[in-house]
Symmetry: C2
Subunit: 242 residues, 2 copies
DNA sequence: CAGGGCCTATCTGTATACAAAAGCCCGCCG
DNA sequence: CGGCGGGCTTTTGTATACAGATAGGCCCTG
């Protein structure tokens, strides 16, 4: 009974690892053979991935792997920042209780422990990613709106819009440590603003915080070695033509 | 081959007209009988309507008609305003060409012609809605981002988040004419800001413009007669308990 | 009389068969 | 030699059959 789940997971994996080329037509019979499930769960998986933006449906029927241009990725990040900004403002304006603020501060402390290290290894980055995701999730939760959260979930599902999408890619890059310091400063300011009920400030910080991801993406896309370590980046069509 | 389309349209209609109660379980065999198509297109329709937020999937499998609380509707409107604000800012910052600005001004003129009338009938409101939707669509287009547009489309799909959702409901209300004047003033300022490349101003106007819809919703929900004329409003659960 | 467990009816998830449509290739004609 | 048309293959959309799971009702028991 979890054939459908299997189909989604495996198909998503195939696309994110670029084992299915962007723009490639996805024929259902072929996928049946490749995924080992029947067409029914494959169709539901394709529909799900369409919402996630990983596949696009063709006017004549059927699907193909989504073609994502570099600008799309930047736009997705700006969009995420905007919606997270709204969440941060709503969180600030809702006068959050201490328990939630404490959880934010706890995330902050975890992040601090990682950032303070001289040299960061893969495990450090993974710890950072986990705490970072929790931080953002708590703020989204503080906003207290299901509608907002569902929308945000959907936006973050875009593989490069996600906050922690490129962290792994830059693990080896020299700029990465400084960037984490800056991001951490913003985390701290964001908690301050929310605790003080400063909605506009919280919103603006959240937006600018997301823009770090744009900068990261640019750096990583300019660096072939970093790209090689994150197969998902192959999904992004550099250069130009439509 | 358009069984699937038929299923989506009819099911959406049934839900929006409140002929299926919020929270009601949607059994597929029952829908087969009611819609006259087999389970396959019904399932795909249910999946589609889930994205639109009209139905929710149950953890144990299957779907039910979405339960939408009043606060959800307000949140959806705020979210729409925020994303339209982003679109307006991007439009302003993109230095739009004259052709597009002319189309906006054309919409404005059409809206003016309606608003200037002493008494508004149903046709007037319908003309207003059409021009209003075109206005918003042009701005979204000016932003020039597919990612943003797809996300906005999805947000507007929520029946009460849409800009013109309650216009019909307030056709009979006394406040409606003044509200249109105010909205129209905002439209004018928005064009100004975009033409002048004033991104921040454009963004703020778009946000505040959306908030008019919140005010409208509140008025309409307080007015039983107005509610009766728009069945979709029955979807919204007033009062409280979760 | 109330609570719990079992049984049954129904539903969902999955697979598959079938028909209509779409795309493609080859051959034919200009 | 190139463009177009027709037939063929493949594919999608739809219907339906089947199995596992779920929920609800009924009976039995304490």
């Amino acid at each position: 009974m979890q054939q459908s789940l299997k189909a989604v997971l495996r198909l998503r994996e195939l696309i994110l690892e670029a084992r299915l080329a962007p723009g490639e037509r996805l024929s259902e019979p072929v996928l049946v053979e490749r995924l080992g499930v029947s067409r029914t769960p494959i169709r539901s998986a394709l529909a799900k991935l369409e919402h996630e933006g990983l596949v696009e449906s063709l006017p004549s029927g059927g699907y193909r792997v989504a073609v994502i241009r570099e600008q799309d990725a930047y736009d997705a990040i700006e969009l995420r920042g905007t919606v997270e900004g709204l969440a941060a403002r709503m969180a600030a304006e809702a006068s959050p209780n201490d328990a939630a603020l404490d959880e934010l501060r706890d995330c902050l402390a975890t992040l601090d422990r990682v950032v303070r290290r001289k040299q960061l290894d893969i495990d450090d980055f993974q710890r950072y990613m986990a705490a970072n995701e929790r931080f953002h999730a708590v703020i989204a939760g503080l906003a207290g709106s299901d509608v907002l959260n569902r929308s945000l979930e959907r936006i973050v599902a875009l593989p490069f819009a996600s906050a922690s999408a490129f962290l792994m890619a830059q693990a080896g890059l020299p700029e990465s440590h400084e960037i984490l310091f800056i991001a951490q400063h913003q985390h701290r300011c964001l908690i301050d603003a929310i605790a003080a009920g400063e909605g506009t400030r919280a919103e603006e910080i959240a937006r600018e915080h997301a823009r770090i991801a744009k900068q990261n993406l640019r750096v990583v896309l300019d660096n072939r070695k970093a790209m090689a370590s994150v197969p998902e980046l192959r999904l992004i069509q550099r250069a130009a033509e439509r």
